[in-house]
């Protein structure tokens, strides 16, 4: 009764909705003021420095070369083009790194719980040593220490005079399509479809009759046979352009520049230590009782892994794995430290220096990474919803 006697103002002050609205309004106003101050500061600063804003620079010619380009590029192309060259190089090294770090990481993680004591200890030391050393340092180590021990082009290490390894990088034959290539490709596609059909047939037969079929080995057989036999019956439809030593360096073929190799190796090894731990804890997170139940039912070791342990471990492993892949992609920006032409190095580095358009360029670069991050976390949310174990 007494409370009702309070006047309107007090009632408003103690109303939680009003309070919350007021508080939010204050925060919003503060934020706006902050942003406006910054924007006006930026405007005056740019003015006094005589820098014009806008994205016009993207269509001006770049005038510098890039040591590795996946799309056609030379000095006469625009700054806009350098953005895409850099972006593609970032994606290239990230994709390479993701594949190899996964393979190595799974191996390390499985070794970590192997029945073999020596293997277990070595993989533990591997993880503990390499994940406690900054990635940048590891990149420098590969680039300035390991790769520097490679010979000069004239004394290249070689595998059958087709692949050459030297201080300038790795040089390999480049496959080129010849006549019959289309037929060969068709054969290969047909073989892949065949393998799919075989898999479905085997599964249906297993469901209907219970008989099992060695699908994996049969598929490998079919694919290898098609690749090899098809190659000859279609009249060798792929020719190779071999690298050749001309003067001081190799010409022709395909090459991996040393910057790519150093960055790729370092990213692979550093990330593999994290993936190894994820794999280990993923497998160990599947309760011991599950293994026992499988054994009591008479499932063999392979069936136990494939049907029970891995499907459960996967749920635990995939979200942290994805965030490692994301980390790897972001970490690939360390490329700039050794001059691998990735997005940050080419665009936020060289292009920024040449044009001085700091705001635009840094924003664009950040947006690229932000987009990738948001896409990946959207995927992760979707995945988590899909596979969450159903509990009461």
């Amino acid at each position: 009764m007494k409370l009702d006697n309070r006047n309107g103002l007090t009632r408003l002050i103690y109303n939680p909705t009003v309070r919350s609205l007021f508080f939010q309004a204050v925060v919003l106003a503060g934020l706006l003021w902050f942003l406006l101050t910054i924007i006006s500061n930026v405007m005056t600063n740019l003015d006094t420095r005589g820098i014009s804003t806008g994205f016009g620079f993207l269509s001006q010619p770049a005038g510098f070369g890039i040591s590795q380009t996946l799309i056609e590029y030379n000095e006469t192309f625009t700054f806009g083009r350098t953005f895409f060259v850099g972006l593609l190089n970032t994606l290239l090294v990230s994709a390479l790194g993701i594949v190899s770090a996964t393979v190595l990481g799974v191996f390390v993680g499985v070794s970590r719980i192997s029945p073999n004591w020596l293997l277990r200890k070595i993989s533990m030391v591997y993880i503990e040593v390499l994940r406690n050393i900054p990635l940048l340092l590891q990149i420098f180590f590969w680039y300035y220490v390991v790769l520097q021990t490679l010979p000069r082009p004239r004394d290249s290490l070689t595998f059958g005079e087709t692949v050459f390894i030297n201080i300038r990088g790795v040089f390999m034959p480049k496959p080129m399509a010849e006549s019959g290539f289309v037929v060969y490709m068709t054969l290969i596609v047909a073989a892949i479809i065949g393998v799919f059909v075989l898999g479905r047939w085997a599964k249906r037969r297993m469901i209907n009759t219970g008989q099992q079929f060695p699908v994996f080995w049969a598929s490998v057989g079919i694919l290898v046979a098609t690749l090899v036999i098809g190659f000859f019956i279609t009249g060798r439809p792929i020719a190779f352009d071999y690298p050749e030593l001309r003067g001081l360096n190799f010409r022709g073929g395909m090459s991996l520049i040393p910057e790519l190799i150093a960055l790729w190796f370092a990213l692979t090894i550093y990330t593999s230590t994290y993936i190894g731990e994820i794999v280990r804890s993923g497998i160990q997170s599947v309760a011991h009782g599950q293994t026992e139940a499988c054994r009591a039912l008479g499932l063999n070791e392979k069936q136990r892994m494939n049907l029970v342990i891995l499907p459960q471990a996967m749920r635990v492993m995939i979200p942290p794995m994805t965030s490692q892949y994301l980390n790897l992609t972001k970490n690939s920006s360390l490329a700039t430290a050794i001059g691998y032409p990735d997005l940050v190095s080419v665009f936020a580095g060289t292009t920024l220096n040449q044009t001085g358009q700091a705001i635009e360029i840094i924003t664009m670069t950040m947006l690229v990474y932000l987009t990738i991050s948001l896409l990946v976390s959207a995927f992760m949310n979707w995945f988590n919803k899909r596979v969450a174990l159903v509990e009461r």
Partner: protein, 364 residues
Amino acid sequence: MDKFTPIESRPAPLVEVGVIGWMRKNLFSSIPNTLVTLFTAYMLWIVLVPFINWAFITSDWFGDSRQDCTSGGACWVFVTVRWNLFMYGFYPEDSYWRPNLAFILLIAILVWLSVPNLPYKKWVGIAAVTIYPVVAFVLLYGGFGLDIVPTHRWGGLMLTLVLALVGIVVAIPIGILLALGRRSEMPVIKMVCVIFIEFWRGVPLITILFMASVMLPLFFAGGTDADKLMRALIGIVMFQSAYMAEVVRGGLQALSKGQFEGADALGLSYWQKMNLVVLPQALKIMIPGIVNTLISLFKDTSLIVIIGILDILGMVRQALSDPAWLGYPAEGYLFAAFMFWIFCFSMSRYSIYLEDRLNTGHRN
């Protein structure tokens, strides 16, 4: 029915125990296992023996110049000659006692906090985040009668530690606010916090450092050239608080809903609830997570060499480009790696130890 007679325990058959039993079980339990053992042992042998030989047996440790490296192995003289540079950067030599003292104080505080059963933990902790930073700053930078040492003369391991510690100490309170904001029921607050967190977490640190070094000066009126180290620190703190916010969020989520409801039922206000009930519990759960972010931050500080600040890695790289000492990149990088490793590894062990202690604490 027979009369029951108890049987004395007999020792296990030899295959089960002793060195042989252990080796059979762990190294030679099957043919593939034996092959793996032999192969790994061989690989270990061919890698480790030459390395130990190079690094320790045929190495040189002391001297003044590269002429003192005569044994053919590692030339650690490269490191010992520059020890002070690697530790303190270009800090004036007669003032080394200042960073040393700051470091000793830090160690004392950490030991106090981490040894179980010492009294006044709370007060020491509060002093560590309030008084200590001021004292350390005065010691390092100067003032109050001490000569000013401008930040561009700071460097080496000292700078690495400064960056990591300032980053973490400033990031913790911001991270807590962000995490609370993210859980808030006020849409504007929640939105602002989510955008802030996701933005800094979504971009690589190197772009943030670029931003701090080329964009930040434009943000200040009159284009003031704020201290370069200061700008880098702002970038690092932003980055770090976003990650810290996620750690705090994890800690808050680990707390059961009953705790929040219990506090509400007692009539505590929002901040009372947080300070008296929620944060004291959540912080305890979060300590391992905080240590883990500290480890990442410690490693990430090495990136500032890219914008030209000379932490320990930067000092090593500068030494490597010294014309009188060309050709020792292996020694230089291994030394830097070892320094980083020692810190990160001990921190990670400590966080594991804490986690174990917390786990057992929960069970009891």
